[in-house]
Symmetry: C2
Amino acid sequence: MVSMLENSKKTSFEKVTIKEIAELAGVSRTTVSRVLSGSDFVNKNTRDRVLEIIEEKEYKPSIIAQSLRTNRTRTIGLVLADIENPFYSRVAKGVIDAAEAKNYNVILCNSNNDINLEERDIRTLTERGVDGFLLTTVELKMKTIENLRDKGFPFMLIDCKLDIPGVNYVVNDDYYGAELATEYLINLGHKKIFFLGNRKLLSLRERFRGFKDTLKRYEINNTGNFVPTKFIKTGGIYDIEGIIRYLLSRQENITAIFAGNDYLAVKSIEAINNNGLKVPEDISVIGYDNIKISSMIKVPLTTIRQPKYLLGKLAAEQLLEILENKSDKKARRVILRPELVTRQSCRRIGIQKLEERRC
Amino acid sequence: MVSMLENSKKTSFEKVTIKEIAELAGVSRTTVSRVLSGSDFVNKNTRDRVLEIIEEKEYKPSIIAQSLRTNRTRTIGLVLADIENPFYSRVAKGVIDAAEAKNYNVILCNSNNDINLEERDIRTLTERGVDGFLLTTVELKMKTIENLRDKGFPFMLIDCKLDIPGVNYVVNDDYYGAELATEYLINLGHKKIFFLGNRKLLSLRERFRGFKDTLKRYEINNTGNFVPTKFIKTGGIYDIEGIIRYLLSRQENITAIFAGNDYLAVKSIEAINNNGLKVPEDISVIGYDNIKISSMIKVPLTTIRQPKYLLGKLAAEQLLEILENKSDKKARRVILRPELVTRQSCRRIGIQKLEERRC
DNA sequence: TAATTTATTGGAATCGATAACAATAAATAT
DNA sequence: ATATTTATTGTTATCGATTCCAATAAATTA
């Protein structure tokens, strides 16, 4: 009764500490701590009494104080290249779910595809005392990563295959995915295929490699896949309209575009339409990522599906394993396989070119 | 030189503490702390010496220790209803940007539109010691909010207009937005309009109010806007296909659907198409939110645009102001105005009904 | 009965910072 | 020359937990 009265008087946010619990239970803080940490050697009666008071007072140990003492925060950092990009937000969901399942929290940074912000975010996170972090980097500096590794700070890369010792990652097999896409186009009869994408970005570099190698394997000569720099705006953003106009004007009879990601694909289709041509009738377009909108646009997009949720989930799980088990130095590298999703943005081209059908 | 040698020997992650800095500089920890906290009363020579050593040792104060002592973590929590929903991820970006601008970090929780997870998240965040948090709640329990308020824990609601004393929010004016949408449809000649959306959700409730009131204002009788429960799956998810089939079968000559959000609108259009009808020829559909895909789908969606980034940014800024300035108890309620975005999913219906054109 | 284990508990140091208060030396006023 | 201010710095307690080590009481063994 008295305690209820006291409670109702309490207006501002006051915290119960372990000291109070100890006093109320007539034991030492040590004992309360023991009760808290599960089972050590505490007498059953004592334990019950302490637990009762803990419950009554709704005592929760201060995570901050615990962190200071134990040097673990049960927090991991997540550096997202772009939270608004559905690819990354799905990855983030996987990360958050995996973290929460193990009673960890996630501090989120958004690097905005900016390598400088990315480094700032990494610094912020380490200073803030996260136990480890996950990095979805898009154009990473080798030095930064090596530095992190050498400091012994636990981290994993997401969707960034960097094969240097002591660096772990969970990635989609971009090379294989690009093979899938390219083979698909080739089987539809395409030979003049343009690869659209910023090859500075790690995953796009892999996709481009897969593309090139596949063409070679089929003995198809393909030249000039370079986007003139004048179409690349600050921050590596492409002027898709400009690129498409340029491609069409080159009169090279390009029959297909392999867009490095679905965003580029969607924009390309728009641009192609704006130039009076149609997809897939005049030009086939294949994307990469299978983001949600790719099935919803005017011409549902043929693309490569990547396990995104899994990417985040596995990465987080691997990181947490490392954290729970600091000694083990074994390499943790997971490579996930993408799949082809055929929709309607690519069509077969054959010996006789079908006449354009107009509605 | 010696120190460099030492550094290169250091393999694991070792932290420099204020104590070491103090010893190296030949001053007390207090003095170092003073230097750190900007300008107190420290002799310029001393300060310079300390700063030099801080720089040399790359010393960063432990945020955990600071937090414990000062009872401030420079961390805010963000409970997102669904990080994968582009609406919320844009909001999140606004929040993160505003927080980082003031040197705060964001701990992200994803409540998955689940009210139980939401409460768990709130608990997690308060226990973790965030300074305050932002809540994008979708179906909140009044009790939870009142409880938080009574405990004096700083928080703000995002896009959830809850007018009880001591509760602050930044919201879009859903009522007004719904007025805009409804008026637009009415001006196009629609009278039989169906409102599609879960009216348990706060913002949808507001939209429905705006919808109803506008119809009344135009003296239009509208009945039966209730979705039969059999089409509502667990978690409040709608079986849109079922609903649309049901609507069409009712033979009530519905000419327009006001979808409570763009997702519902997009799905509705798909469902309508699947039933052999066309948008907007047979049925007009207006959405709400103006998410990215709404302009990219087959029939670009007419919808209501909401300032999403601003929503998050302002909410975070308000919260931080509260945190920096604990004494001020003034109400912080911001109401943002949405706008109509006309695209192609609605058409005028007139006296003579145009014959269906087929391609 | 004395000696040794075992079970249970508490004291005090510690994690890395901040802050109230005290202390000293130098500068100024009387 | 003495008293009082001012500038600068240090001492120590504290935030809220954990943990090493010691202490006590009870139980067991010799």
